[in-house]
């Protein structure tokens, strides 16, 4: 299984992401944003977290025009599996590969802490290793994680089972850290081959460090 990980100026989670996937047996390659192609043997393309282009203008707004993004868009259109974590999620919404947008957190704070998430739909190639309703504990670390979509868009997300994760407490009851509409933490596109989430599963790989709930999630990303 080959995981290609995008690196923009300001990306800072690419090596954590690489380490996490390699621990699970994947081979990885970091792709600088100037590259106009992505490796042909890529099974999973990850847009890693960080602060691409310093979050100037809007988070992800400038990264989406980097040379590599044309190849990413083509890869996604051809059915390739694309994962956006945190800033990667923001880049993918800006690029139009995922619906909605990520606004400033309602409380205006940068939030960095463990948070529980509930699996809403596992009927996709990303979360099939987890059960519907299962609660996992995964860190969040963002300033602009407040997911917004208009009411028609939200209806579409529900109708197509595109809401994959929601913020909850340990019992799976809604608990919303940042003001996201419907407490949404992660969504996929209509074709279910592009997935974006604000939490960082690659940071939840060791019990010693607080949680290893990310392991199962990442194994799921590698499963297909």
């Amino acid at each position: 299984m080959k995981v290609s990980i995008l690196q923009f100026p300001g990306t800072n989670c690419e090596y954590d992401t690489q380490h996490a996937f390699e621990e699970l047996g994947a081979t990885t390659e970091i792709i600088w944003h100037k590259s106009e192609t992505i490796p042909a043997d890529t099974n999973l393309l990850v847009v890693a977290g960080g602060f691409s282009y310093g979050d100037y203008l809007r988070s992800g707004a400038i990264a989406r025009f980097s040379p590599v993004m044309k190849a990413v868009t083509q890869y996604a259109k051809d059915g390739g599996k694309v994962l956006g974590i945190c800033n990667g999620f923001q880049v993918l919404t800006e690029a139009g590969l995922l619906p909605g947008a990520l606004k400033r957190n309602d409380n205006l704070h940068f939030i960095s802490k463990y948070h529980h998430l509930k699996v809403i739909n596992n009927d996709n190639i990303f979360l099939e290793k987890l059960d519907n309703g299962e609660v996992v504990n995964i860190p969040i670390a963002h300033h602009d994680g407040n997911f917004f979509i208009d009411s028609d868009g939200l209806q579409d997300l529900k109708a197509n089972n595109q809401i994959l994760l929601k913020y909850t407490d340990a019992d799976g009851e809604v608990k919303n850290p940042n003001g996201s509409i419907d407490s949404i933490a992660g969504v996929c596109n209509k074709d279910k081959n592009v997935f974006g989430l604000m939490p960082h599963p690659e940071r939840a790989m060791e019990l010693l460090l607080g949680s290893d709930d990310g392991v199962k999630m990442l194994q799921g990303f590698l499963a297909n």
């Binding site: 203008l57 400033r104 409380n107």
Partner: protein, 80 residues
């Protein structure tokens, strides 16, 4: 030369948390009678062209492509 002033703000109906925080601050400073506060950003562009129609077309495209995220933001363009 034409100067384009682009004002970008969150759409009506999209909660503006910064505006709300500023509103609270104004309130605590006893500035009364403020009903609503919206915080936006301004981008000023200096363009080569003197043709206002051409300038408007170009800046509108810039707004749609990158300057604004039309999922959550509105933009207004003023040409000088």
């Amino acid at each position: 030369m034409t100067t384009a002033i682009v004002n970008i703000s969150l759409k009506a109906g999209v909660l503006d948390s910064q505006g709300k925080a500023v509103h609270h601050a104004l309130d605590s400073l006893h500035f009364k009678g403020v009903n609503d506060v919206r915080v936006g950003k301004q981008i000023v562009l200096k363009l080569d062209t003197d043709d206002k129609t051409q300038a408007m077309t170009e800046v509108e495209k810039m707004c749609e492509d990158i300057l604004a995220n039309t999922v959550i933001e509105d933009y207004k363009i003023e040409l000088i």
